[in-house]
């Protein structure tokens, strides 16, 4: 079984994010980066499927050379090789990301394409769906369980009010939810070995991808600061404030 799996780098979700004063982006100086938690779930799923069924898991990412550190984590977790497509994070939108991944899919021809359901920085939650649509493949998003049997992926999905189980024919696109599994911590020998695993670098031009964007970012702004609460003296005053200031009644 051949699996393509995404390993996107994101800003540390626990770090304090500051918007640049001119609103053109976020302050990247001193920021720490991590592997997207949902991608970690996807990688764990890919690696354990390969352990079970044989084959290979290939980690893919899009970004400049500094994202390779996170791509190596995917290799340390057990992916056999990795591909990075060279383009800066701020030159991407969900559409271009999807079009690049589609090209990688077409070159590698995997049985399964696993992605994180969303990246915790942009939170767009679009790429897996776009990829499936562009490739005209079955999709199963927000997977909390995946079982491969008879050329199908049986995927459980958490939906409002319960759990839905669907079967999709392979090849298919599946996006991972947090409850899919607990990603492994790669052991030190595997971290050291990951340095020697093959990592291929491609450019959008070499893949024949047009890098024009469909989405233009107009501005970034920090969420408004929360105001402190106040104490009211009477119920009358409370009702008055709820009606006129909070407009909650």
């Amino acid at each position: 079984m051949k699996i393509l799996v995404t390993a996107k780098r994101v800003t540390d979700p626990d770090a304090k994010i500051r918007v640049k004063p001119d609103g053109t982006g976020i302050e990247t100086a001193g920021l720490e980066y991590k592997l997207n938690p949902f991608c970690e779930n996807a990688i764990e799923a890919a690696v354990s499927m390969v352990e079970k069924h044989g084959g290979e898991a290939i980690a893919v990412t899009i970004g400049t050379a500094d994202v390779e550190q996170n791509l190596r984590t995917a290799l340390a977790m057990g992916c056999e090789r990795a591909i990075r497509v060279e383009i800066a994070d701020d030159q991407l939108d969900s559409d271009l990301t999807a079009r690049i991944l589609v090209k990688l899919f077409e070159t590698e021809k995997p049985d399964l394409f696993l992605l994180g359901k969303q990246a915790v920085d942009g939170d767009s939650n679009q790429v897996a769906q776009l990829v499936a649509e562009m490739l005209d493949l079955p999709q199963a998003c927000f997977a909390s369980g995946i079982v491969i049997e008879n050329g199908e992926a049986v995927v459980t999905r958490e939906i409002d009010g319960g759990i839905e189980t669907i079967a999709v024919k392979l090849p298919a696109v599946v996006s991972a939810d947090l409850r899919l599994n607990t990603p492994r911590l790669p052991t030190l020998p595997n971290v050291l070995k990951a340095k020697r695993k093959p990592l291929q670098v491609l450019t959008p031009a070499a893949l024949g991808v047009d890098t024009a964007l469909k989405v233009a970012t107009v501005a970034y702004e920090a969420p408004p600061q929360r105001k402190g609460g106040i104490k009211v003296k009477t119920v009358q005053e409370l009702v008055e404030k709820l009606q006129n200031e909070a407009k909650a009644l």
């Binding site: 500094d66 984590t73 911590l185 790669p186 052991t187 030190l188 020998p189 971290v191 050291l192």
Partner: protein, 384 residues
């Protein structure tokens, strides 16, 4: 010459921090307070690959260079792993396993190293004796040739992992006449008749490492347990001391970072005289002193690691300088870190008193600061 970590090394640091904070640190205080060795953490260090990191890949280890071991040791300390566990790891991996890797023959390496790499067997190294510490060459534990092997008689003292070790690298006297050249190294297995370990000694710090005497009473070991050549023991011991003064010191650098973090947080939160104590210059300077110590110690330790990885053997002067500096120069700033926390600093809750206690071993274990100065002045040669 490079001073910073490579991207690979900083990625490694990240990984180890995450592992240690998740899997080890939550049990540290409990075990320190009880002066107990943490077998769960030991098993996890083994599974994660720390215990075998420096052991060659052919024998089930990670095959890492010294600098990699230093990065990992530093990250363990930074995460908040206590000095007892890192000492137990150091004695096992550097003093015991590395000696076998460097001086053992093929059979010895194949037998011992894979089990030491996983931590299934715990290792220790015995050089010090009740009557021979600073003057290690005066050791008296006797090894006499008997039919098909050796008979050991004598006592080792202050041996880290002694009470729990499955195998011990032991330095013994094989020639009563020759001083330095009369010492040989041996491997002794737990359960060998005539070999026993004493009770754990209650200590000021590094309490989760167990320390005891080892007693040899007509203990017969087979011929094949001789490690390296007969009479070469003292030189074998010198090599382990070099590790002792480099990779084994790395956790102390990380621990200082852990203290800095604790101090910054506390100083920012604690208010006296109507403002955070971090606004007082005297408090800020205490934190600056910790940083100064950490940066200087780091340069010294990295330098030895670098020398070793460059294939320059026996960097004794550099190693002694680093060892002495970590032991002595850490006293004031780590004491200040306790004082910065006021009454809470003296109590276990903030971990700073534990770090203070743990670090005190650096000026004693593996050779006291007096002895380091003796070595340094001797190696400086005629001019001194």
């Amino acid at each position: 010459m490079e001073f910073g970590l490579t991207p690979d090394q900083s990625a490694l640091r990240e990984q180890v921090l995450r592992f240690a904070r998740q899997e080890i640190v939550p049990r540290v205080r409990e075990h320190d307070l009880a002066s107990e060795f943490d077998f769960d953490s030991w098993r996890k260090l083994g599974e994660y690959g720390v215990l075998g990191l420096n052991i060659p890949e052919a024998y089930g280890g990670g095959g890492a260079d010294v600098m990699t071991c230093v990065v990992v040791g530093e990250a363990l300390g930074e995460a908040g792993v206590d000095g007892g566990l890192t000492l137990a790891y150091g004695a096992h991996s550097f003093l015991c396993a590395d000696t076998i890797a460097a001086h053992g023959n093929e059979e010895q390496k194949a037998l011992y190293l894979p089990r030491l790499a996983t931590g299934e067997w715990i290792g220790c190294m015995g050089l010090t004796e009740p009557g021979a510490g600073s003057d290690a060459a005066a050791l008296r534990l006797r090894a006499e040739r008997v039919d098909g092997g050796w008979r050991l008689n004598g006592t080792k003292m202050f041996i880290t992992n002694g009470p729990i070790a499955d195998i011990a690298v032991i330095f013994a006297r094989t020639d009563a006449e020759a001083a330095h050249a009369g010492i040989s190294a041996f491997v002794v297995r737990k359960g060998t008749p005539g070999f026993s370990a004493g009770k754990n000694l209650h200590k000021l710090g590094v309490r989760t490492s167990l320390t005891s005497e080892l007693v040899f009473d007509d203990c017969i070991i087979p011929e094949e347990n001789l490690l390296g050549m007969e009479g070469m023991g003292f030189f074998v011991a010198l090599q382990t001391l070099e590790w002792d003064r480099s990779a084994l010191l790395a956790p102390a650098i990380g621990t200082t970072g852990f203290l800095i973090d604790r101090c910054c947080r506390y100083a920012g939160e604690r208010e006296q005289f109507g403002r955070p104590i971090a606004s007082f210059q005297a408090v800020r300077h205490k934190i600056a002193d910790l940083k100064i110590f950490q940066e200087a110690a780091r340069s010294l330790v990295y330098r030895i690691a670098w020398c070793k990885d460059q294939g320059q053997p026996m960097n004794h002067l550099e190693a002694s300088v680093a060892k002495l500096f970590v032991g002595d120069a850490s006293l004031q700033p780590t004491n200040d870190a306790v004082v910065l926390h006021g009454g809470y600093g003296y109590c276990a809750e903030y971990d700073v008193e534990r770090v203070f206690r743990d670090l005190r071993i650096a000026a004693i274990g593996g050779g006291t600061s007096d002895i380091q100065k003796m070595i340094i002045s001797r190696l400086m040669g005629e001019g001194v």
